[in-house]
C-alpha cells in the first residue's frame, strides 16, 4: 500500500518536473510582458506569435520587438530548413544502408560494426562539431552550412538506422528468399519488397531526423562558423542580459504543438502498419 502511494507520488513528481516548465512557457507566451513572466499578468496577447508577420511600423512601435533583428531570425530559420533538406535524405540513405548491413549481412564483425555506426549518437555533440570543423578546415572548407550538414549527418543517421533495423528484423527473411528464389535479382528484391515494407518506417525516421536536425544546438554551434541556424539563433536571443524576449516562448509553444502533431501522425501510421 505504501509502496503504491510512493509510486504514485513519484509519478506525479516526474510529470510535474517534466511538464510544469512547458506549461509556464506556454502561459508566458500569451502574457503581454517582457521578459516573460507568469507571476505578473499583463493581459492576453498574440503579439509574440504575430511578430513574424507583423507590419514593419507596428513592430517599430513595440519597445521589446524593436530591439530584435527579425530578418536575421527568419534567415537563420531558413538556414535550418536548408540544412534539414540535406541532412534528412542523407541520413535516411546512410541509416538504411547501415540497417540493411547490420540485419542482413551476418558476420562476426557485426557486433563491432554496430558500435562503430552508433558511436556518433553516443559521442558528445561538441566533439562531433569540433571534429567536423577541424577535419573540413584541414581540407580547406570553411565552417558554414556545409560543415553543419556534415556534422549533423554523422549522428542523425543513427536514428533512421535504429528505426529501420527494428523494422527489418521483423520482416521474415523468407520473404526475401522467396523473391530471390522466384528469379528476382537482389536489386529487384530490395525495390519491390524491402522498400515498400520499410516505407512507414522511412516516413517516421524522416520526421525524427528532421526534428533532430532542427533542434540540434551543440554540434551545430561548433560547426557553424559565421552561419546561424534556428537553434543557435534562439540560443543567442536567450542569452540577452535583460531577459529573453517572449517571442522565444511563442516559438517554443509552436514547436511543442508540432511535436505533438508529429507524434500523433506517427502513432496513426504505426497503428495502420500493425494492422497489416
Amino acid at each position: 500500500m505504501t509502496s503504491q502511494r510512493l509510486l504514485t507520488a513519484y509519478t506525479w513528481a516526474f510529470l510535474i518536473f517534466m511538464f510544469a516548465p512547458l506549461l509556464l512557457m506556454v502561459l508566458s507566451s500569451v502574457n503581454d510582458t517582457s521578459p516573460p513572466s507568469v507571476t505578473q499578468w499583463e493581459g492576453l496577447t498574440g503579439k509574440w506569435y504575430a511578430y513574424f508577420w507583423m507590419p514593419e511600423a507596428e513592430m517599430r512601435a513595440d519597445p521589446v520587438l524593436r530591439a530584435l533583428d527579425r530578418d536575421r531570425f527568419v534567415g537563420c530559420f531558413g538556414n535550418s530548413l536548408y540544412i534539414a533538406a540535406f541532412v534528412v535524405p542523407l541520413s535516411l540513405i546512410l541509416g538504411l544502408a547501415g540497417a540493411v548491413l547490420l540485419t542482413r549481412w551476418r558476420s562476426r564483425a557485426n557486433g563491432l560494426l554496430w558500435w562503430v555506426l552508433l558511436s556518433p549518437m553516443l559521442a558528445p555533440g561538441i566533439v562531433l562539431g569540433l571534429s567536423a570543423l577541424v577535419f573540413w578546415g584541414r581540407l580547406g572548407v570553411n565552417a558554414g552550412l556545409f560543415t553543419i550538414i556534415m556534422a549533423q549527418t554523422t549522428f542523425v543517421a543513427g536514428y533512421p538506422m535504429l528505426i529501420l533495423m527494428a523494422r527489418l528484423q521483423r520482416q521474415p527473411i523468407e520473404l526475401e528468399e522467396a523473391a530471390l528464389d522466384l528469379g528476382a535479382t537482389p536489386f529487384r528484391v530490395f525495390r519491390r519488397l524491402t522498400l515498400p515494407y520499410l516505407f512507414p518506417a522511412l516516413v517516421s525516421a524522416g520526421v525524427i531526423a528532421f526534428m533532430a536536425s532542427m533542434e540540434n544546438y551543440n554540434t551545430t554551434m561548433f560547426a557553424k562558423g559565421g552561419a546561424c541556424t534556428f537553434a543557435t539563433e534562439i540560443g543567442a536571443m536567450a542569452r540577452n542580459p535583460n531577459g529573453h524576449p517572449p517571442v522565444i516562448n511563442a516559438v517554443g509553444t509552436v514547436i511543442i504543438a508540432l511535436t505533438v502533431l508529429a507524434a500523433t501522425v506517427h502513432t496513426v501510421l504505426a497503428r495502420r502498419e500493425a494492422k497489416l
Binding site: P172, E174, L175, E177, A178, A179, L180, D181, L182, G183, A184, T185, R188, R192, L193, P196, Y197, L276
Partner: protein, 365 residues
C-alpha cells in the same frame, strides 16, 4: 512444364559453427517424380532442400539438376521453385501480383503477367480471389497461392518445405490429394520435405528416410513400410513392436534371434551373421492372437476399441507389444488377461541394433 532429375553427388554440408548437418550423401530423384524426404526435425532434410534451391552451397560434392552442375548458380538462376514452410507470401501485394512476381523478373508486360496469374489461380481454384491480399485468405487458400506462385516460373523442380504443417488435419488431408493431383497434371519433379509419415506415404512415388544428417533408406512407401532397412526407419515410419536380442543362426532369407522373450525366426534383409546385436521389428497388424509361429506369453494391459479395429496392448516381461486386429467379434481374452500371441516369420524383420526414433518424435510439428 516438364520435370528434371535431381542428383546429389556425394553432397555434404557443414555449417560455419562446425555442425555437420548432412553427411556425404548420394541421391537421385527421377524427373517427374514425387519424392519425399521424411525425418524428424533437425535431421538435415531442410538443409538438403536449401542446397538444391541454391541458398546453401554444399561443403563437399555436387548438386546436379537435369545433369547440369549447379555450383556457383544462385537461387534466382536455378530451375527450381521453393515453397516455404511459412509460405512467405508477399503481404503488401495482391494475390495475382504474388503469383506474377516471378514473371516480373522475366520482363513480361503487366497485362501478360495478369493473364498468366489468372490462369494459374484457376488451376488452384482461386480464380475469383486475384485482387485480394494474402491476409484476406484462409490458410488453405494461402497454401494454394504459394503453389501457384511457384508454378508461375515454370520450374523443372518444385521444392516443398513442410508446406502443410500450419494447416488443420482436415485441410491437410485435402491438400495432400490436391498436391498429388497438381504434380501429376504438371509433370514437375516434386521434392517434398516432411516429418509426417502419413503425408510421405500417401503422396510419394518414393521416400527417403533421414536421420541425423544421413539417409537411412530410399524406397517406395510400401518398401519403406514393409521392409525397413534400419532400426530408425522401422521405428520412425509407422508403429512397430521391438524386441532386442542377438542373432544365433542364419537360415536362407531368415535368421533366428535370441531375446528375453525366447527365440524367434524372422526375415534377415541386411544379412546379419550369428552373434550380431540385433533388433526384431513387427508391425502391430502383423501380430496374431493365439498359438502361432513365434509364439510368446503376454498379459493384456489395455484394450482400445477403434470400431472396426481393436488395439490391444500387451506386456511381456516389461516389453510392451501392440496388437491390431480386426474387430470380428471373436477376439476373446481370459479375464486375467493372460494370452498367447505371436507373428508369422515373413512379417517380421531382424535389423542391426541402432538408433531409434524417439517416441512421439513424428508428432512434433
Amino acid at each position: 512444364m516438364r520435370g528434371n532429375d535431381v542428383t546429389l553427388d556425394n553432397v555434404s554440408i557443414t555449417y560455419p559453427n562446425g555442425f555437420r548437418a548432412v553427411h556425404p550423401t548420394d541421391l537421385t530423384v527421377q524427373a517427374g517424380e514425387f519424392f519425399s524426404i521424411l525425418g524428424p526435425s533437425g535431421c538435415g532434410k531442410t538443409t538438403i532442400l536449401r542446397a538444391v534451391s541454391g541458398f546453401i552451397e554444399p561443403s563437399g560434392g555436387r548438386v546436379l539438376i537435369g545433369g547440369q552442375d549447379m555450383v556457383g548458380i544462385g537461387p534466382n538462376a536455378r530451375p527450381t521453385a521453393l515453397i516455404f514452410q511459412n509460405l512467405a507470401l508477399f503481404p503488401l501485394m495482391k494475390i495475382w501480383e504474388n503469383v506474377a512476381f516471378g514473371l516480373e523478373a522475366r520482363g513480361l508486360s503487366r497485362r501478360a503477367r495478369r493473364a498468366r496469374a489468372e490462369k494459374l489461380l484457376d488451376l488452384v481454384a482461386l480464380g475469383d480471389q486475384a485482387d485480394k491480399t494474402p491476409s484476406e485468405l484462409s490458410g488453405g487458400q494461402r497454401q494454394r497461392v504459394a503453389i501457384a506462385r511457384a508454378l508461375a516460373v515454370e520450374p523443372a523442380v518444385l521444392l516443398l518445405d513442410e508446406p502443410l504443417s500450419a494447416l488443420d488435419l482436415k485441410l491437410r488431408q485435402h491438400m495432400r490429394a490436391e498436391l498429388r493431383a497438381i504434380q501429376r497434371q504438371t509433370g514437375v519433379t516434386f521434392i517434398y520435405i516432411t516429418h509426417d509419415q502419413g503425408e510421405a506415404l500417401t503422396m510419394s512415388d518414393r521416400i527417403a528416410v533421414m536421420n541425423e544428417g544421413r539417409i537411412e533408406q530410399v524406397g517406395t512407401g510400401d518398401e519403406v513400410y514393409s521392409a525397413p532397412a534400419t532400426a530408425f526407419a522401422a521405428s520412425f515410419v509407422g508403429e512397430a513392436n521391438r524386441i532386442d536380442g542377438r542373432v544365433v543362426a542364419v537360415n536362407g532369407d531368415l535368421a533366428e534371434i535370441d531375446t528375453a522373450l525366447g527365440r524367434f525366426r524372422a526375415r534377415n534383409p541386411i544379412d546379419l551373421g550369428a552373434g550380431d546385436a540385433a533388433m526384431l521389428f513387427v508391425r502391430p497388424e502383423a501380430m496374431r492372437l493365439g498359438h502361432t509361429e513365434n509364439g510368446l506369453s503376454a498379459r493384456l494391459m489395455r484394450r482400445d476399441l477403434e470400431g472396426a479395429f481393436l488395439n490391444l496392448f500387451f506386456d511381456a516381461q516389461g516389453i510392451e507389444l501392440a496388437v491390431h486386429v480386426t474387430n470380428d467379434g471373436q477376439v476373446a481374452i481370459p479375464a486375467d488377461g493372460a494370452a498367447e500371441i505371436g507373428f508369422p516369420s515373413g512379417r517380421a524383420v531382424i535389423l542391426p541394433a541402432g538408433p531409434l526414433a524417439r517416441t512421439g518424435q513424428e508428432m512434433v510439428a
